[in-house]
Symmetry: C2
Subunit: 459 residues, 2 copies
């Protein structure tokens, strides 16, 4: 007897789920229907800034698998078709063809919600003006590139200084724009503590990017033709020929909310460990529309990242296909490149640790990426946060040059397995002069953290 | 009441121990005497190939702390002085001044044995000929450089294809020598499985190094002046103006053996977790002269590496100084650079796993260092070994280009905490297009290993 799997959303989580389910169940056993609002499937949204910046030549390079490839594998993929209602008791979804406007119901035995996230757009005057862009989807990226290729002016304003904002600022300066980045926080990258964020600001300023922190955009000014001409803050106005908003995203869960499915504090769908929507045996959800368990703080967070979405899809597809897999949670690892700086973090920032009732000691060290005498060695700053008394690792932030970023993985594994900083000191990490000083910078930080925990115990 | 700490050997382990003890105990409380046979202290032996190859300009760059600096910190350092006897019941050592030949006894309350390792030199005809070198100590490195600067010929033979042999072959070809590397094993780098070693051989051959595997050197041929002129194997003869032996080292424990101290199967001193020689409350040992517990196999191994020696020294110095620290063991991590290849390993090779009674599945995957579409991405081969049934990670080997090597640290932490490959699949590792594909190569290998473990269970 054939079942039908319906997937809402055809990017990382949705298409991974569909593909994995197809691997496990043949077309006679499982019909798979995917509804995707946009023109593309299975693309790397994280790659959009690099496409805009010119590191990636072609939009199609960002597409891991085309609609045709999915269809060839027996997936009934319906592009430009938006699901507008989920009827949970009736086990069906209502979809609208965005070209014709026609609507129809499709029944499901197993439903996967992979609706992603929606860029936050504050309800400011002028926010919908021509020349104002987001970069959430490949369609968004294409629209921005079309704008860049059609305008004469070279003044760009980026609003927001998270990963996307920072990467877009760099992409635009690489394209020859005069770039101003406006950020609510005092320093860029609120995913880092401000004392680490300052290192990012300095690097960006060194590249010629104007970084305006501690202020909010109050309006987008337009010209008579309705095109953006400036961005206003409480105190100032910044001329702009193009504006990119990157002030974060929220889970795209209006559909789920209307269907009465359980949402968390951040508006994301809540799932169990097998990525099934809580209380619903035949509905799964994954990717940027769900909240994930933070293993360090023990609470749910919303962390929209392609790497999680892919894992979710894999697990959902296994579940739908009758196999078994779970997603135990995250530790909050992220890595990024800003100019020639590598920026990485995992676990909790000071503020996040305080917010969940943890008390901690903090250390910051400077070390080098290679043996001090080895050519190409460069400075690296490592910040480490450890719990008072227990010495359990709570978080690490790293800013440095080549070789700095992926060192965060050491801490990511240590957090996952709840190591103490004292246990970390003994870690048998790879050492050779081209790769590390004899004490890896992460171990140098751990040693200092051990001393801080002990000092705090005595104090 | 003042005590005396005597340290035998003034490199990484010995001087780290002395320095850490001095940090904890002032000169009035603890007198520290260090005997060192050579001319140098606290140098990076791992850096010698890079000095020979010209990446490091100056010998002094390899010295972390000079004798004068140690003396200024209240350490009584006696260079060119060799300890020739340890009198355990009498708590004293007999030392010989290598310049004058004078001998004298020095009493100790606390003894630290950090005598390092001795290069293996098979008793071949001609092995002591002029032009035949090892590269264990900074004195050895200087002697080799003196030879290179004094000879006319450009033919070099490197015997042995471990880390040192491979690094020296590269250093010599960089200096413009015609290099032949002769190795007993079929492929270079016996610390890897042969299927990974073949990747190293190909890279070396690509650089113009002649790699002769599966054969042993039977004699060093000399000319009338007693200088090397060729290296002979059973089948052939290789002309040589200079020969470097890098066929491994053994713990330098003749002194310890004569004193009746406990040695393990590899001839290294056996210690407890606090690095005290077993059965001896007031004698510590660390660095290349000890055996270490391999946490994966559960047995002792001899792993001469600067990073372990530094940790040992730190722990010994803490113990001597009245503080507390332990060395839980190693997982066998090592990383190296060969031409533009990064080579890394941790845990057990197939042969090592079999030798300790483990049964396992093995997977090999190829992935990329960055997102496939990102500039500068390169191929990486990851081999992963997991225990049958339990799926516990047993070992990882990685060969790739930039960004490959230090990924081994992910596996090193996972081995330390005894993760299964299934647990590893869920690891929250750093992802962004310049750093990794959306599934990190280590996770790709883990996924395949999970499938292999399951298939084996069913089979």
């Amino acid at each position: 007897m054939s079942e039908r799997m319906v997937v809402i959303g055809g990017d990382a989580a949705g298409m991974s789920a569909a593909s994995q389910a197809r691997r496990l169940r043949q077309a006679e056993e499982l019909e798979i229907v995917v509804f995707e609002r946009g023109h593309f499937t299975s693309y790397s949204a994280c790659g959009i800034p690099y496409w805009v910046g010119g590191d990636v030549d072609d939009r199609d390079d960002l597409i891991a698998r085309t609609p045709e490839e999915h269809r060839a594998r027996g997936i009934d993929l319906r592009l430009r078709t938006e699901v507008v209602e989920i009827d949970v008791p009736g086990r069906r979804v209502r979809a609208r063809d965005l070209e014709t406007g026609a609507q129809s119901w499709t029944g499901y035995d197993k439903l996967v919600i992979a609706t992603g996230a929606t860029p936050i757009r504050p309800p400011l005057p002028g926010i919908d003006a021509a020349g104002v862009h987001g970069v959430q989807t490949l369609d968004d990226g294409q629209a921005l590139i079309d704008t860049l290729e059609s305008i004469e002016g070279r003044r760009a304003v980026v609003v927001g200084a998270g990963y996307i904002g920072v990467e877009m600022a760099e992409a635009l300066i690489t394209r020859g724009y005069d770039v101003t980045m406006i950020n609510r926080g005092a320093e860029p990258m609120a995913t880092l503590d401000p004392d680490m964020g300052v290192l990012i600001r300095k690097a960006m300023e060194g590249m010629g990017i104007r970084v305006i922190g501690g202020t909010e955009v109050t309006a987008v000014r337009t010209d008579d033709a309705g095109r953006v001409r400036a961005v206003a803050t409480a105190d100032d106005e910044y001329p702009a020929d193009v504006v990119v908003f990157g002030i974060g995203v929220r889970p795209a869960t209006d559909l789920a909310r209307a269907a009465g499915l359980p949402l968390g504090a951040y508006g994301g769908l809540l799932t169990d460990l097998a990525m099934r929507v809580r209380g619903h045996e035949n509905i799964w959800a994954g990717g940027d529309c769900v909240e994930v368990l933070d293993l360090v703080s023990g609470s749910e967070r919303h962390i929209p990242l392609g790497t999680h979405a892919n894992k979710h899809g894999q697990i959902i597809g296994s579940g739908v296909g009758g196999d078994y897999a779970t997603f135990p949670g995250v530790v909050g690892t992220a890595v990024s490149k800003v100019c020639d700086l590598e920026v990485a973090r995992t676990g909790l920032r000071e503020k996040e640790a305080r917010a969940v009732g943890l008390q901690f000691v903090t250390v910051v060290i400077e070390s080098t990426s290679r043996s001090g005498y080895f050519p190409g060695t460069s400075l690296m700053t490592v910040k480490m946060i450890a719990e008072r008394r227990t010495g359990r690792l709570l978080g690490v932030q790293i800013v440095g040059r080549e070789g700095a970023g992926k060192r965060i993985d050491i801490a990511a594994v240590a957090l996952t397995t709840r190591m103490t900083v004292e246990q970390m000191v003994a870690l048998d990490l790879g050492y050779a002069p081209p790769f590390s000083p004899v004490w890896d910078p992460v171990l140098v930080a751990a040693r200092k953290a051990v001393a801080a925990v002990r000092k705090d115990c005595r104090g």
